[in-house]
C-alpha cells in the first residue's frame, strides 16, 4: 500500500485550527488557575522540610510555632490525626520519625496568612540523627547499603502492583534465545549508560491545592492536577474509606507531572481535617524544584548484537531505575519503558532485558511526559549507537529497519503481548524528517562533523521513539443535545459531559470539536462541563498523549448515539428511514431533499435533551512513532553546544487541530527533554544530599532567545484508532531528542559523548582538553 492511496477526508472542523475555548480568557488574564482562587475562611498551609537526605528525628518542638499568633495547627509525625500513607504500594507514612530525602515532610502548619505560616516553619525546632544516605540505584542495591523502608528489603521495590499489570508483575523482556542471537550477530557492543540527573519537568505553575474536609470521610480538593480522576484514585487509596471530590481549574503546565500531587494533597487534607477549615498549599518554586517529583533515574548496562544487514539480533541488559524516596507509579513507567524498547527494536527476536527499581534518598521521581520510555530511550539509543558504530551503519537505515511495522509483536506494560496494527509509513516519516534536515548530506559517518569553521564544528544526530499508550485507560462521556428554552428561532446547543482538565493541550476544545464534527454543528455551540470527578462520567483526563483519542472515542460514540436518536426521531417525523437523513446545525434534514428539515428541539421530548452515551475501552495495539533529528554547533574551545535545528517526523494518522498539533510536536522539546542532553539537570550535592539547582537561575532551561529552528514532517495516514483516525503524539514528540543530541555532539567533536547532560566540562573531557 502506498501513502498516496490514502483518502484524505475533508472535515468541517477536524483538522482545522479552531481557537481554544478559553483562548480569550488566557490572553486577557481572566483564565483562572488554582492560586487565583480562594475559599472563604481559608487557611494557608506550609510544610517544614528536612535538611537531611536520611535521618531520624530525635526531637521535635512545636511550642514556639504554636504560640505564634495566627497559627491554627501544627502537625508532626507524633500527632497526626490519622496515619495516611504514601507510595504505591504504600510503603511509608506522610510523616514519620524518619526522613528520607532533603525536603521530606517534617511538620505541617496551617495559619491565617502565608506569612505567618512561613514564619512558623522556622520556629519549629527539630533535632536529627543523621543516617547514611544512598543516592543511586546502583548504590542502593549494594550489599550493606543503608536500608530505607521495611517494605522494600534491599531497597528493592517489589513488582507487585496489580493496577499496572493485571496478570501479575512484568518487569523483564525475556524471549527467544539471547545466546543464539549474539552468535548470529556480526557486531556486538556493550556499555553502561546513565541518565541519572533526574531533571525536573518544572511546570510554570507550582503544584498546589486547596482541601476541605466535608465531614465524615468526605473531602473536596481543588487542585492543579491535570487528572482529577487519577488524583481521586490515589487519594482514596491513601485516606482510608474516603470519598474525595476533586475539582480543577486551568492547569499551568503539567507534562504528566501534576497528576496525583499526593504529598501536597494529603498535607492539605490533614490540615483541613485538623482545623475544619479549607487549607491552601501552594509550593514555592524552590520547593517544586527540590522536593517535588522529577524524572526517574536510569542506568542501563546492556549488550546489543546486530547483523550485517543492520538488524538487531539480540538485546541483553539490566535496567536500574532510581525512583527516589517514594515509589509511586514507577512500575507502570518501567513497564512502558520496556514496551517502548521493543517498539524501537521490533525486529529483534532475542531478548533478556531485566529491570530493577530502587528507592534512594533522592527526591521522589514521578510521572513525567515520556513516562519511563524517555529515560530508557536516552540510555538505550546511546548503546544502539555503539553497535551501529561498530558496523559503521547509517543510523537512519538501522532505525528504519528495526522499527515496528504492522503485524510485529510486543509486550506492553500490562504484561500482555500485542500485535501492532499501526501505521505502515513510519519509515517514510523518518525519511521525510531526515530530508528536511539534509541528512544525506550531513551524515558523514560516526564521530564526523559535517562542517568545521574555526573553533565551531557542526554535527547531526537522530533518535526514534514510539509508544503504544494512545488507547490507554477506559473513558466514558455523555453528549446531550440541549434545546434552547426560549427565543424565536429556537435551536439547540450541545453539552459534553466528560471530566477533562485543560492543562494546555487543548483537549477540552478538541472534545468540543469532535462532537461538533459528528453532529455537524458549529464548534461555538458545543461546550463541555467543568472538570471534576463528582458530577462527571469517569475519565482519566489528560495523561499520556491519548486525551484526544480516548475522550475522542467516547465522545464521538456518545455523539453518534445522540445523533442516531435524533435521526430515529426524525425518521418518524419525515416517515423516512434514518439512513436517508442527516444532521446539520441542530437540524435534521432529508439528504436528497435538503429543504426538508426540522430543528432537533422539535424532535425530542419537550424541554428535554437528546442524550448519547459513549465509551472507550483500553487497548495497546497502536504504536506511534516520532523521529527527531538535530543539528548542533559545538565550540571546540569551550565545549559550548548550540542547538541549531530540530526536525521531527511522525505519522499522526489524522490531524485534529493543525496548530495544536504543531504545539504538541514542538512542545516535546520542553519539560526536561532535549536539553537534558545539553544543560538541564538536577544538581545533587552528594556531600550534603541537597539539590543545588534550587532556583530558576541554577536549574537551567532554554530561554526565548536561544530557540533553534524547528521543522516538522507530518504524515496523515488515517490509522483506525477511532472515528477520526488520529494517533497521539504529545507523549513522545521530543522523547528521542536527548539521545539525538548526544549523537550530534559526538559527531561534531569527533569523540563519543555518553554523559547526560553534555555540559562544557563533559564535552571538553570527551575531547581530551581537560
Amino acid at each position: 500500500m502506498k501513502y498516496r492511496d490514502i483518502r484524505q477526508p475533508n472535515y468541517r472542523h477536524v483538522g482545522n485550527y479552531t481557537p481554544r475555548k478559553e483562548a480569550k480568557e488566557i490572553v486577557t488574564g481572566k483564565a483562572l488557575f488554582l492560586d487565583d482562587f480562594s475559599l472563604p475562611q481559608m487557611l494557608y498551609g506550609k510544610i517544614k522540610r528536612s535538611p537531611y537526605p536520611h535521618a531520624k528525628i530525635t526531637s521535635i518542638d512545636t511550642d514556639k510555632a504554636l504560640k505564634l499568633e495566627g497559627v491554627r495547627a501544627v502537625i508532626t509525625h507524633k500527632n497526626m490525626p490519622q496515619a495516611w500513607g504514601l507510595g504505591l504500594p504504600v510503603h511509608r507514612l506522610l510523616m514519620e520519625a524518619k526522613v528520607y530525602h532533603v525536603g521530606d515532610v517534617v511538620a505541617l502548619i496551617a495559619a491565617d496568612t502565608l506569612e505567618i505560616a512561613t514564619e512558623a516553619v522556622s520556629l519549629i525546632e527539630v533535632e536529627y540523627e543523621e543516617l547514611e544516605p544512598v543516592f543511586s540505584a546502583e548504590e542502593a542495591f549494594m550489599e550493606g547499603a543503608p536500608q530505607l523502608y521495611d517494605r522494600f528489603p534491599g531497597n528493592h521495590v517489589d513488582n507487585g502492583i496489580k493496577y499496572f499489570q493485571p496478570d501479575g508483575p512484568w518487569w523483564q523482556i525475556i524471549k527467544g534465545d539471547v545466546e543464539k542471537g549474539f552468535s548470529e550477530a556480526d557486531f556486538i557492543a556493550s556499555d553502561k549508560i546513565k541518565f541519572d540527573k533526574m531533571p525536573a519537568p518544572l511546570a510554570p505553575e507550582t503544584p498546589c491545592c486547596i482541601s476541605r474536609h466535608d465531614g465524615g470521610d468526605e473531602y473536596t480538593v481543588w487542585a492543579s492536577s491535570q487528572s482529577a480522576h487519577i488524583m481521586k484514585l490515589m487519594a482514596e487509596g491513601r485516606i482510608p474509606n474516603s470519598n474525595v471530590s476533586v475539582k480543577t481549574f486551568n492547569v499551568g503546565g503539567s507534562y504528566g507531572n501534576k497528576q496525583s500531587l499526593m504529598t501536597t494533597v494529603l498535607s492539605s487534607c490533614m490540615l483541613a481535617l485538623q482545623t475544619q477549615r479549607p487549607v491552601k498549599i501552594v509550593l514555592t518554586k524552590p520547593e517544586q524544584l527540590t522536593s517535588y517529583e522529577v524524572r526517574l533515574g536510569s542506568t542501563i548496562t546492556a549488550k546489543i548484537g546486530m547483523n550485517k544487514e543492520g538488524f538487531v539480533t539480540a538485546v541483553e541488559g539490566d535496567w536500574l531505575v532510581d525512583t527516589g524516596a517514594i515509589a509511586d507509579s514507577v512500575q507502570g513507567q518501567v513497564g512502558v519503558g520496556l514496551g517502548e524498547a521493543q517498539i524501537v527494536l521490533a525486529k529483534c527476536k532475542n531478548w533478556f532485558m531485566d529491570s530493577h527499581i530502587a528507592v534512594t534518598n533522592r527526591q521522589a521521581a514521578g510521572i513525567v511526559r515520556g513516562y519511563g520510555g524517555q529515560e530508557l530511550n536516552s540510555c538505550l539509543e546511546r548503546l544502539l549507537c555503539a553497535v551501529m558504530k561498530e558496523g559503521n551503519f547509517d543510523p537512519l537505515d538501522v532505525f528504519k529497519k528495526n522499527y515496528i511495522s504492522p503485524g510485529d509483536m510486543f509486550t506492553w506494560r500490562d504484561g500482555r503481548t500485542w500485535k501492532s496494527r499501526s501505521s505502515l509509513f513510519f519509515k517514510e516519516s523518518m525519511q521525510g524528517a531526515a530530508d528536511l534536515i539534509g541528512w544525506s548530506l550531513k551524515w558523514k559517518g560516526w564521530n564526523k562533523p559535517f562542517a568545521v569553521n574555526g573553533s565551531k564544528a557542526r554535527g547531526v544526530g537522530m533518535g526514534v521513539i514510539g509508544n503504544a499508550d494512545i488507547s490507554e485507560d477506559n473513558t466514558e462521556a455523555i453528549v446531550r443535545i440541549v434545546p434552547d428554552l426560549v427565543g424565536g428561532k429556537r435551536a439547540s446547543t450541545c453539552i459534553i459531559e466528560c471530566d477533562i482538565t485543560e492543562s494546555g493541550m487543548g483537549t477540552r476544545s478538541n472534545a468540543c470539536k469532535i462532537a461538533a464534527e459528528v453532529l455537524n454543528v458549529p464548534y461555538e455551540k458545543v461546550s463541555i462541563t467543568e472538570p471534576g470527578t463528582k458530577f462527571n462520567p469517569s475519565n482519566y483526563g489528560l495523561c499520556g498523549s491519548r486525551g484526544v483519542i480516548t475522550t475522542g472515542k467516547a465522545i464521538s460514540n456518545a455523539a453518534m448515539e445522540a445523533k442516531k436518536k435524533a435521526l430515529d426521531y426524525a425518521s418518524l417525523y419525515f416517515k423516512r428511514s434514518a439512513d436517508q437523513l442527516d444532521t446539520k446545525d441542530f437540524m435534521v434534514y432529508v439528504r436528497d431533499t435538503p429543504n426538508l428539515s426540522v430543528p432537533m428541539f422539535k424532535l425530542g421530548p419537550k424541554e428535554l435533551s437528546i442524550v448519547g452515551y459513549g465509551k472507550h475501552m483500553e487497548m495497546f495495539d497502536i504504536p506511534s512513532c516520532m523521529a527527531v533529528f538535530v543539528e548542533v554547533e559545538v565550540d571546540l574551545d569551550t565545549g559550548h553546544i548550540a542547538l541549531c535545528r530540530i526536525c521531527g517526523g511522525a505519522d499522526i494518522g489524522q490531524i485534529i487541530d493543525i496548530k495544536a498539533l504543531e504545539m504538541q510536536i514542538e512542545g516535546g522539546i520542553g519539560s526536561a527533554c532535549v536539553d537534558t542532553a545539553i544543560f538541564e539537570e538536577n544538581i545533587l550535592d552528594r556531600a550534603t544530599g541537597r539539590l543545588l539547582s534550587s532556583s530558576l537561575i541554577d536549574y537551567k532551561w532554554r530561554p526565548f532567545n536561544e530557540f533553534p529552528a524547528y521543522d516538522s514532517y507530518i504524515m496523515e495516514s488515517q490509522i483506525d484508532s477511532f472515528m477520526f483516525k488520529a494517533l497521539g503524539i504529545g507523549e513522545i514528540s521530543g522523547a528521542a531528542g536527548a539521545s539525538a543530541v548526544l549523537m550530534a555532539v559526538s559527531n561534531a567533536i569527533g569523540a563519543d559523548v555518553k554523559e547526560y547532560p553534555a555540559t562544557p566540562s563533559v564535552v571538553l573531557k570527551a575531547m581530551g582538553k581537560i
Binding site: 488566557i26 503546565g253 518554586k285 494546555g504 483500553e618 487497548m619 524547528y710 521543522d711
Partner: protein
Amino acid sequence: MIKKDCIVLSINGRKFKFSVGTGFGDVSPSETLTHTLRRRLGYTGSKESCDAGACGCCAVIADGEAIASCMALTVEMDGKSITTIEGLEDPIEGLDPIQQAFIDEYSFQCGYCTPGIIMVAKALFMSNPHPTANEISEALSGNYCRCISQYTVLRALNKLAGNENAELATFTRASDEVEDPIPVRQELYLSPYANGHVCAHSLD
C-alpha cells in the same frame, strides 16, 4: 528620609490609595507588587511563579517598562502607573493587537506564562513598534515557558512587527503531495478492541 504612610498607585487607569503599615488591610512595606496585585486587588492575571525575577510570569508594565513585579516592593511603586494584563483590552476597541495575534497564532498552551509574555511584548512594541526578530526574542529572554509556545509566540509577534521570513518553525504535510488519492485505506490487522466495546482487561 521618607517613611511612607500612604502610597498611591495607578493601576490599569484606576488610582489606588493604600495605607502602609502592618494593620489589617495595610500594605506592608515588605509586600511585593505581585502580592498587591494578585492577593489584594484580584488582578490575578500576572502569576507568582518563581518569585525570584527569573520567569517573567509576573511581568507588568510600570511607567512604560516591563518589570518583574515580584522584584518590586509596592511601596517603591508610589506614584507609578502600572498596567497589567487585565488592563490591556480596551472595552470599546476590544483586544490589544498582541492579544488578538496570540489567539490567531495559538501562541500559548497552558496559558500560565502568557500574561507575562504579552506584557513584556507590549512594552517592547510601545517603545519600538517594529522590532527585529532578534529584538523580540531578546526582549522575551526573561520569560519562562515550558509548554514551548515560543515558536508560535515569536510567529505572532514577528507578524505584528512586520518581519517577513522570520519564521522559526515550519510544517510540512506529506498529504500536500498526495495527488488523486484512491479512497479509503484497507485495514491490514483488525483489532477486536477497535470498536470501543471490548476492554483489553476483560479478555481473560
